[in-house]
């Protein structure tokens, strides 16, 4: 998972990455494979490592087990959390369903699906122009897209909510519609950077050959460049999905009333509802957690290489 040797995004790791691709020691880790020189043979250091690994798992992964078990427990509360559900039941999910959790979940799915599609389309188009064309003002445009990363929703929340209530020129009110969340997520600097870098590495010969055959720009992008970009699109897709699913403030300010909330924002409604217990909140949390979990487990390699690549590029 963290092997940059198979990195599709070309991580420019410092120092020489000679060894990693040499194929040596995949099955039998040598003593010099790790910085701490962990040994693979049973011994005190080995035992210590196992102990520490268990500790890490306990701290970072075990809490997830407790929320899963709590969501299936008949009477879950903060004081009865454990790793196995007491009296397993689906009651919590049914109550959460009565409180409209599936409607919120539906909102989330529409926003995540639509937002991701728009984001990928918009960023691919922009990246294609930046990577494959030369034009006046290119550096400025690149800087502008970088700036979008420095303008997170938190910092522009108040004026953004005014803009969403009355979009200039067209004068539409996007509040209470999914567009209010989807459209602001369209231009994501990170994806633009990532795809631009990747497209720059595609050899121009392929394109030139296609151009001689009379292929137009759009078909060139769709049929020649995009298929070659699949790894980068995978990275942009996973990171984009996680980022959109994690949105909190944007759905909050784009909503007209609580029925417009996404499932992550709606958790606070469940929590403040005096008639439902912690088990129902946990059921909601599990429902909000599962999609990102699935995406992560299916595409974790893309995600991890993407983070590493994004970071090293900075």
């Amino acid at each position: 998972m963290s092997a940059p040797a198979i990195d599709p995004v070309r991580t420019p790791v410092t120092a020489s990455p000679t060894r990693s691709s040499a194929g040596k020691g995949r099955t039998t880790p040598a003593r010099f494979d790790t910085a701490l020189g962990w040994s693979d043979r049973p011994g005190p250091a080995w035992a210590l490592r196992i102990l520490l690994c268990l500790l890490a798992l306990g701290v970072f992964a075990a809490p997830f087990l407790t929320i899963f078990s709590g969501s299936f427990s008949e009477k879950a509360s903060g004081s009865t959390l454990s790793f196995l559900p007491h009296h397993p039941t689906l009651l919590n999910f049914r109550v959460a369903g009565d409180r409209g959790i599936w409607d919120y979940f539906g909102n989330s799915l529409v926003i995540a699906g639509g937002g991701l599609l728009l984001q990928l389309a918009v960023c691919t188009l922009a990246a294609y122009a930046l990577a494959r064309h030369r034009f006046r003002g290119q550096a400025l445009i690149l800087t502008l897209f970088m700036l979008t990363m420095m303008l997170p929703e938190e910092v522009i929340a108040i004026p953004l909510s005014l803009v969403l209530g009355h979009v200039p020129v067209v004068g539409v009110d996007l509040k209470g519609t999914v567009w209010g969340v989807i459209l602001p997520l369209g231009a994501w600097g990170f994806s633009v950077m990532l795809l631009t870098e990747f497209m720059k590495d595609i050899p121009t010969e392929i394109e030139e050959a296609a151009r001689i055959d009379g292929v137009g720009e759009l078909r060139m992008l769709w049929q020649v460049v995009l298929p070659l970009c699949k790894p980068a699109l995978g990275v942009a897709g996973v990171l984009g999905f996680i980022m959109i699913w994690d949105q909190y403030l944007l759905p909050l300010i784009a909503a007209k009333d609580p029925t417009d909330y996404t499932v992550t924002v709606a958790l606070s409604i469940l929590r403040t509802d005096p008639e439902v217990g912690s088990g129902v909140v946990l059921a909601g949390a599990v429902i909000a957690l599962v999609p990102s979990l699935i995406v992560y487990l299916l595409l974790q390699r893309s995600l991890v290489t993407g983070i590493a690549a994004g970071a090293t590029k900075g």
């Binding site: 060894r19 004081s79 959390l81 290119q138 550096a139 004026p159 803009v163 909000a288 990102s292 983070i307």
Partner: protein
């Protein structure tokens, strides 16, 4: 960047019409969205920060009043302290824990990969979900998850989130928990780039583990650490969701950070001008920090 280097000539000029418009067509959707939903709000925010915003009555120009009001408000001043403490604590804690995780979980073995996958879960989980999870783990009575762990060690139950003295630290712990695995991945990428023969050579020379870490590993992962620190610092400044879902700024404002304060001012007290001023201050600090760090890094690269 010298991407705009055009070669003037008759042949070029002939095709420039179509060629020059094309990239802009591709860029148009992205630029339009960025303009309307990022730069326009930014401009509007700066503009509104000089006004007393009054619905139906028309906005009134007040100059820098909003800024002085926000900066002299003691709750905002407290929030600065909390933001800095939280930002620094989360950044440093995230790096220390992240490095420790990376050093522990470095390797090619299949079992290690599985552990890394599991440890990485907090990063892919939505912040709001993490908040609900931790709220329950922090359950204040002695049979809450964390408190029962403390009970095993013979320590009394701590009402983490309900006590103004501990709430900020509890929030910080959650922040570190979310940040550390992310840092781990970046540092692991740095570790993977270390030339293994150096380790071998060092072992031949009888170099101690500590020296090896200091002189071989650290220089190799320093760029990764730099990036991690920058990202964390910027993220720390605009921390909002973590605090908002976990404590909402309470109890008694003890976890109020700059953005939760601005949010309260703007959305519940309807002081759009003051909230805009607060946002602009944060924006300026973020930009300043980014530019400074980039400058320092560029200078470091040259050297």
């Amino acid at each position: 960047m010298t991407a705009t280097a055009t070669t003037p000539g008759p042949r070029r000029a002939r095709i420039i019409g179509k060629k020059a418009v094309l990239p802009w067509l591709f860029l148009a959707p992205g630029l339009l969205l960025a303009l309307v939903f990022k730069f326009l709000p930014m401009g509007k925010g700066v503009w509104l920060s000089f006004f007393e915003v009054r619905p139906f009555l028309g906005d009134k120009w007040v100059g820098l009043d909003n800024y002085t009001r926000v900066l002299t408000d003691h709750r905002f001043q407290d929030a600065i302290g909390h933001t800095l403490l939280l930002g620094v604590g989360m950044s440093l804690g995230g790096i220390v824990v992240g490095s420790a995780l990376a050093l522990l979980l470095e390797g090619q073995a299949r079992s290690l990969k599985i552990i890394r996958t599991a440890v990485f879960l907090p990063v892919v989980t939505a912040t709001a979900v993490v908040g609900e999870m931790w709220r329950l783990m922090y359950y204040p009575t002695s049979d809450g998850l964390i408190n029962s762990g403390l009970g095993l060690l013979g320590l009394g139950p701590v009402p983490y989130l309900d006590n103004p003295d501990t709430a900020l630290w509890a929030t910080m712990a959650m922040g570190i928990w979310m940040l550390a695995p992310y840092n781990m991945v970046i540092i692991l990428a740095g570790l993977a780039g270390v030339d293994r023969s150096l380790y071998e050579a060092a072992a031949m020379d009888g170099v101690s583990l500590r020296q090896r870490l200091r002189h071989i590993t650290l220089p190799a992962i320093r760029p990764a650490l730099g990036i991690v620190l920058t990202l964390a610092a910027i993220r720390g400044l605009r921390v909002f969701t973590e605090v908002y879902v976990l404590t909402g700024g309470g109890p008694a404002g003890s976890t109020d950070v700059w953005m939760t304060r601005a949010y309260t001012l703007g959305f519940t007290r309807n002081d759009i001008g003051g909230a805009s001023a607060a946002s602009v201050v944060l924006l300026c600090v973020t930009l300043l920090l980014t530019v400074t760090v980039n400058y320092l890094r560029k200078r470091g690269d040259v050297r």
